[in-house]
Assembly symmetry: C2
Homo-oligomer: 382 residues x 2
């Protein structure tokens, strides 16, 4: 018997953070475009995109999924073949599960997202981790991939079955020289996967220039789409492995379980695409904006960790002062969340004060000034 109070609780669906300035890096790149909002309303019902199914999600002509997957996305990513997925993590698992074998070792960066670890674990893979430079910049040195590959060779008698780089990483927003990682990987015949969940849809990324073999991106993180949805790209030479067809159903791609983002999510991805294309062109302004914010925060005594000058909107901030305040505040670490929220600002994980991530992406200068002012006021008030 389901408790009536629990059923009542399911009706409590107001979104507390709606309309506020949300600094959460997870949220900034996923805010829907007006076009996506309209599309979501039109295509919200269940399996709506399958009205004109011709056997597989990516072959559907109305809505224009086919055009998106075959004409637009490969050119946008500058890679041979693209697909839509349920997200970046699902894309990484698709690659690992098809080109690696359980027991294989792969090389990843220390700054990799947790889902890289978990996807590898699910695929039964061992990890060789390229270290970062530690506090305060946490840089990944591309040359260390060569060292890691050599270590795997020594330890297992063969090269790793994959290298992976997080571009940028989700903690510090560092951008490693991906081209160099690709070259080092290819010198040893190791295929290279670029995780650009915080990259694609925010900044210009050319898979051709980087020369990665696979790429994954995130619709909800960085392409103004309703989650969960993502994009995936592969060089043609891996098509027969990764996009292998079912022996039972000739049109179905096994690793994609036939169809992935079979609902409104893919339509929001498509609906936002024109505006995403435009905003990617405005990336340089975003970097300037992020640097300006970083400098203003440092003037207040905060320390921006990660690369400096910073090259991405996602940044990691350290604040010994806020931590000290939290030690004496009755609400402890939660005071920062409370105080920021009073000023209409959210997105810093409730409870955190000493270290936190934030993003300046697509925030106007007046909004960023408001954020800086809020931090200044908090520091002055306590």
């Amino acid at each position: 018997m389901i408790a009536a109070s629990d059923l009542q609780k399911l009706r409590e669906l107001e979104r507390e953070h709606l309309g506020l300035i949300n600094l959460d890096p997870l949220q900034r790149g996923g805010i829907l475009s007006p076009e996506a909002r309209k599309a979501l309303d039109m295509w919200g019902d269940g399996y709506s995109v399958c009205d004109f199914c011709t056997g597989r999600l990516d072959l559907i002509r109305s809505p224009p999924i086919f055009t998106f997957v075959y004409e637009v996305l490969p050119k946008f990513l500058e890679i041979d073949i693209a697909r839509v997925t349920n997200g970046a993590r699902e894309g990484k698992f698709i690659v690992m599960h098809s080109i690696c074998k359980p027991g294989d070792t792969i090389v990843i960066d220390k700054n990799a997202h947790y889902t890289t670890y978990v996807a590898a674990e699910r695929a039964g893979l061992n990890l060789k981790i390229v270290p970062n430079s530690g506090y305060p910049e946490f840089r990944i040195n591309p040359e260390d991939y060569a060292k890691a590959i050599d270590e795997v060779k020594t330890e297992t008698g063969r090269v790793p079955s994959l290298t992976l780089l997080t571009y940028p990483d989700g903690n510090y927003g560092n951008l490693v020289d991906a081209k160099k990682v690709a070259r080092i990987s290819h010198e040893q015949d190791v295929p290279f996967l670029l995780n650009a969940a915080y990259g694609i849809g925010r900044m210009p990324i050319s898979c051709k220039e980087i020369d990665c073999d696979f790429v994954v991106g995130s619709g909800h993180k960085s392409m103004a789409s309703s989650g969960p949805v993502g994009v995936f790209g592969t060089k043609k030479e891996f098509e027969d492995i990764i996009l292998r067809k079912s022996k039972y159903f000739k049109t179905k791609e096994v690793e994609l379980l036939g169809c992935t983002a079979r609902g409104a999510t893919v339509v929001t991805l498509i609906a936002s695409f024109n505006s995403v294309l435009q905003r990617v062109k405005e990336w340089e302004g975003e970097v300037q904006s992020s640097r300006w914010f970083s400098q203003e925060m440092e003037k207040l005594g905060f320390t921006q960790l990660g690369e400096k000058p910073h090259n991405h909107d996602l940044m990691f901030v350290e604040s010994k002062r806020l931590f000290e305040i939290s030690q004496k505040h009755p609400r402890r670490g939660y005071f920062l969340y409370d105080e920021l929220k009073k000023g209409g600002i959210v997105g810093i994980k409730p409870g955190l004060t000493k270290n936190f991530k934030l993003s300046t992406y697509r925030l106007s200068r007046p909004d960023l000034e408001k954020v800086v002012k809020s931090f200044r006021d908090i520091l002055e008030r306590f």
Copy 2:
């Protein structure tokens, strides 16, 4: 360079079938409730549900995902433990990938959905298929599971690692005695997975009564939710295998890649739940409605294949007469789609005339009468 005409095409997002009577079984159970439509608008942005993330999707308190996953869903499914997934197919793969090993054989019904085959193939499994009775009823005899298990034992030297039943199947809408399949499986210590993608959210299903070990359901197919989203349930004894935690990140569940339906999809599932609970109680009326429709269609010379009397809204219709007409019509098989659409009716796959699936789910008697009349008019006109 992306062609301007392709970018323009991405703007063509009108949903042609919106507001029409849609007979597609894929679509009928996924039409959003008014509550879900409102929730979709509020939570549409990217990763919106992660505003208050505490480490894992199912632990989020606002929106009330925690209440849904831990208090409501297990009681609704009448099974020990539940989770939200990206859909039924993903749920099946999660089970197969965790409790079976590549090279294992599993037993499935001949009427299984294609994704059962593909999920098994992705997990490296061999299939032993329980046949159906063929034309016209295509029934699965539960006793044949015992035979299939014995065959697997003879052929491989051990019992299959899983049995799976599709309940109901997605072609004929047949409902097999699942309790018997569970008993037969358990007699040989084989765990049993119930695929209820067309069941859960439409009809009353008690995992406890059936005694299945695992169950998967589909939010977009049958729970008035925006796709892709699904539900999954397991008996407690399999928790440590299926929901095993990552060795790298202690809270993350490996098979779920940490989090699954991380977006508006899960909120629509929650928002619709109260109305889904209510409509499940009205299932008997749906069966009556389906039987009435079947009889009316048979009066017109159509044959309803699958179980008779029918026990589900999804049915398979055979029409020699429409096929004959299509042979002489300039639009060939597409004439039926055209003609029905003129009357505001869609959902029968364009091109089909001889055999097609449809569903009467949640269609009012006047709407069903309109559908019958449309078929009658078409038969009379040609």
